[in-house]
């Protein structure tokens, strides 16, 4: 009799365990992407500042800004709009770059924020928020300065 009770209790605990594990698994599997625009920015810079920090010491900057799981730091960058283009994913790409800087900050917008990018004008001073994907560097194979890349960007209204 006692043994039966123990087995019964054991089965109930096991079922509860499986249900919880399943729920957690289901949640993790369907976990939404981080909402960059509704999260607070970790740092605020001008495009010149972040470019110069990367050109001075790329490894140190990568350690500071990139996250192991890819949810890297969210930056707010102020700069002059020097180019607006579109990528193969129909997203607007805004380049913020000072006239005398070697590289700039290339900010990719999203389906939801595209319109705010296309309303910008070349030469306009704006602030853009997005997640950093990679830093500025001189690539000797490309023979070019690569820009800081921000994604999931939007214009910040101050």
């Amino acid at each position: 009799m006692k043994r039966k009770k123990i087995i019964k209790a054991g089965i109930i605990v096991a079922i509860i365990g499986v249900v919880i594990a399943g729920a957690v698994g289901f949640y993790l599997f369907n976990m939404p992407h981080r909402d960059v625009q509704n999260a607070d920015a970790d740092y605020a810079f001008t495009s010149t500042q972040i470019v110069n920090e990367y050109l001075a010491d790329m490894d140190a900057a990568n350690t500071k800004y990139l996250a192991v799981d890819g949810d890297s730091k969210i930056l707010e960058i102020e700069g002059i709009v020097s180019k607006i283009s579109e990528n193969f994913n129909n997203q607007q790409v805004v380049l913020l770059k000072g006239a005398s800087d070697k590289a700039g900050v290339s900010a990719t917008f999203t389906e939801e924020t595209n319109l705010n990018a296309s309303n910008l004008k070349i030469g306009e001073l704006v602030t853009v928020k997005g997640v950093i994907r990679s830093g500025a560097t001189f690539d000797e194979d490309l023979e070019l300065y690569e820009n800081v890349i921000l994604e999931k960007s939007n214009v910040v209204i101050k």
């Binding site: 599997f29 369907n30 981080r34 990139l66 990679s134 194979d141 490309l142 023979e143 994604e151």
Partner: protein, 182 residues
């Protein structure tokens, strides 16, 4: 007469400047990873790659920001970035340093579709391997489009899974699709 000399000057300027512009820089790019197993299909896209193509030497360079690969599922993206998989914090960029070996067969002054053989060093997660793949170069006016599709063996770059979900859900060989507009 004055108009004519001005016209000659403009034409001369255009001709000389285009002769020097041998190195094309990408304006748009897409790199897609596709992995298929009986368990599931996994796809990731990258639109932030920078590439150059030298029309004279055939040198072709790709610099790929690894954290720019976007997955449908957030958890997959986290796994992909983590130090167990691509370790993108440690290795934020992948690079292809290659050459179109039959560049002489591609006439950049004539519209058309040309077959290209690309050979070069691909560095992924700090591991460099020689790859040799086929692609297509499409010339249309001032635009040059390069496309290629090839398979990549993950274990070649030290990315391997022996047990658990990754081993059953991620293909040993992933299909890579590349498209660049210069």
């Amino acid at each position: 007469m004055k108009k004519l000399s001005l016209l000659i000057a403009i034409v001369a300027f255009i001709v000389t400047s285009s002769a020097y512009g041998q190195k094309l820089v990408s304006s748009k790019s897409q790199i897609k990873f596709f992995s298929t197993t009986p368990a599931e299909n996994i796809e990731a896209n990258n639109y932030a790659t920078v590439s150059t193509l030298d029309k004279e030497t055939g040198a072709v360079i790709f610099s790929i920001p690894m954290q720019s690969f976007e997955f449908e599922k957030a958890l997959m993206q986290k796994h992909y970035n983590s130090d167990k998989f691509l370790n993108t914090k440690e290795f934020p960029k992948a690079k292809l340093k290659g050459k179109i070996t039959n560049i002489n067969e591609i006439d950049f002054t004539k519209d058309g579709s040309y077959n290209a053989n690309v050979e070069g060093d691909l560095t992924l997660k700090g591991v460099t391997k020689l790859i040799s793949e086929k692609g297509t170069v499409v010339v249309k006016g001032n635009k040059v489009d390069v496309k290629s599709k090839f398979d990549l063996i993950l274990a070649d770059y030290g990315i391997s899974f022996v047990k658990g979900k990754p081993a059953s859900n991620i293909a040993k060989s992933v299909e890579v699709t590349v498209q660049v507009e210069y």
